[in-house]
Symmetry: C2
Subunit: 403 residues, 2 copies
């Protein structure tokens, strides 16, 4: 038997892929469709937010010094000289001893430097307002530029946009923004035994699971998946499919060829491209040992195992970090429910469920025969047992990598 | 001043909304677009998975009893009677002392009940195979129905679909499935001072942040948002907008009217519908005190505060749970970095950042003046201080509700 597996360590394989992943351009999109996208360059505010001193309460705009020291027993007396209207500027200028009505969100008039809540005031007559509490300078006022000042970096390059960021950008009037283009990912399932979902299975055949599972997994990472038709394990057919897939995508995910003979064909096809450079062929990981990666021109081909459970698992620990590096270890901590054994000299990724027991987060490894799709579906993520460990102990605090 | 706030407790307000939230129908969609959707009825498998006994290794299909007790020093001798081809059934029937070549994923022939990895065998000649290890019954074999058996519930009603579930459904040939329809959410911003993003701001005006922030927040919850044009705080205009919004949606989010006068208009408009039923008007929560909810026919109107930070915060703790109940407390645990004070008799939701310090997850409340959009954008979620507490202590283990 050919010595197939000069296997590479997981961290090294991932680092190699991260190093050579194709660069991405940027594009300008509308703010309203930007959630989940990655900011392409630092966003700098051109304005102050708020653009004027705003009251944060319903009440009276005042000069703080005029009501210094007032109280329930010795209220301040102010002349009410008018009313601020929402959304409008005003000619009112407060002179010493004057105040005016202001609604929440209203613009402070010239001369005012604080607002008093209506609850702490009393209107004596049309012209006179009593205040029962003093106001600190700028109390109940959001000052010009207090939220954001002009020239400030408000969102940094590389950040994933969330609704609160959209709110911040809208506050500053930015209707469009520059984001990183998503990766285009081609998906090609191969295998003589694999048939489309619509076909009735003959004995020995299995359905094309990988096209579906990988499509949705890629989509969930914010990349743009394209599924190509199923290919048999033959040189010419595979070469044609890979050529088409490379032309139209940044990264190509092949799945199939988990047995020795078919993997030969895949390798032959990939290495037949003149610019092909093998990155690795075999990794010291369970599952996923036969995984391979080849750089072709500026693009990347990752050969996943054919078995759907292995293919999806490897996708999560090796391909997903390329598509969404900021999410890499989005984990959830908890305590291991049982001992888990491993083998030093390889990384293990074990599906696990998250449970709650007496207010404690329990992480329950889903062991049993590997390769069951139902197990992967029941799991909430993976436990990662690193290369140098021989297992993890029950009760140990571990992290589940959520998928 | 009118006694406006007969406020309701948070848990009660949320429970009321959950009780009366409009029922949702179901729809059939294609498997490939199902990620993130909610399953409408238990999904039962009509088939066994795998549909045949499959080898999980490259090697030889055997009768386990034939190689019982064999070893390196005393190998088993088997007659090789043929080869299984991927994806094909076979006429081969193993008799006593016979074996045949089988690839990973190949279908076990009649009579075989285990597989031996090629690494533990040696081909002596065309006809004879030596085995150096015994095989347990069904070793290296995935049996019929071992992953899923026919008649089994594979995914339960109410579950949110993830890529591994898509893989499971594809394995069983299900190209479509029934999911819950998404909520249609109408969004109406009101306020005399609020202007569209494209308009140059006059003094005292602010931009329409809520339409953008709420649109993206609703979208992130998997619901279908529709933004209506801005409305001034006038009875007729608001009545028209609310009527249109109710006709086309399940739930209507109004935002605006945070000052006393404008809130009156909103309440008048909503209560002018003959079937209107007030659920609450004012909640004992900071921020969000002026929040209101009215049931109109089978539909729901939630009146959010006008201030964008409050509006988005209230959306997350009061509206998002309706749209995505399974996500309600998707939290992340950590240790509080500083003391946080609150007031017993109200619930507080305080924006917080997540940090890592010496391998410990630190939760840093973002205090300072409330109502800054830049703070909400920096935060990763909220800390919830419940009604009966007066604060949380530094070092205490708390949960951040991620948004």
């Amino acid at each position: 038997m050919k010595d197939f597996f000069q296997v590479m360590r997981y961290e090294q394989a991932l680092a190699q892929l991260m190093d050579v992943r194709p660069p991405l351009g940027s594009q300008t999109i509308s703010l309203i469709e930007s959630v989940g996208r990655i900011i392409a360059e630092d966003i700098i505010s051109e304005e102050n937010l708020p653009a004027f001193n705003r009251s944060t309460v319903d009440g009276y705009a005042v000069r703080a010094e005029d009501i210094y020291g007032c109280s329930e027993s010795s209220p301040g007396f102010l002349d009410c000289v008018g009313e601020i209207k929402m959304g409008q500027s005003t000619d009112i200028r407060l002179a010493k001893g004057q105040c005016c009505w202001i609604p929440t969100g209203g613009m402070l008039p010239c001369g005012a430097d604080a607002a008093v809540m209506v609850e702490y005031t009393e209107k004596l007559d049309e012209k006179t307002v009593l205040t029962y509490r003093p106001a600190a300078l700028f109390e109940n006022v959001m000052q010009i530029g207090e939220d954001v000042s002009a020239g400030q970096i408000i969102l940094e390059k590389g950040r994933e946009i969330r609704p609160a960021d959209v709110g911040l950008l809208a506050s500053l009037g930015m209707k469009t923004l520059k984001v990183i283009e998503p990766y285009r990912i081609g998906i090609i399932s191969t295998g003589d035994e694999v048939v489309p979902l619509e076909k009735k299975l003959a004995p020995g055949e299995i359905r094309d699971v990988n096209s579906y599972a990988l499509y949705t997994a890629v989509y969930s990472c914010g990349a743009v998946p394209t599924v190509y038709p199923l290919v048999k394990d033959q040189f010419d057919a595979l070469l044609e499919a890979v050529s088409a897939g490379l032309a139209e995508n940044d990264i190509l995910l092949l799945s199939g060829g988990s047995s020795v003979g078919t993997m030969d064909v895949t390798m032959e096809v990939l290495m037949s491209f003149p610019e092909a450079k093998m990155l690795f062929h075999g990794i010291a990981v369970k599952p996923g040992k036969p995984t391979l990666a080849v750089q072709i021109g500026g693009k990347l081909v990752i050969g996943l195992p054919g078995h759907p459970v292995s293919a999806l698992t490897v996708f999560y620990f090796l391909a997903a970090p390329l598509l969404k590096p900021q999410n890499r270890w989005k984990g959830c901590e908890g305590y291991l429910s049982i001992n888990v054994f491993s083998q030093a000299g390889r990384d293990d990724f074990i599906p696990a469920a998250l449970e709650e027991q007496d207010g404690r987060k329990l992480i329950r490894p889903l062991l049993g025969k590997s390769g069951l799709m139902s197990i992967l579906s029941q799991a909430r993520g993976f436990i990662h047992i690193p290369y140098e460990k021989q297992g993890l102990k029950a009760g140990e605090k571990v992290e589940v990598i959520i998928y």
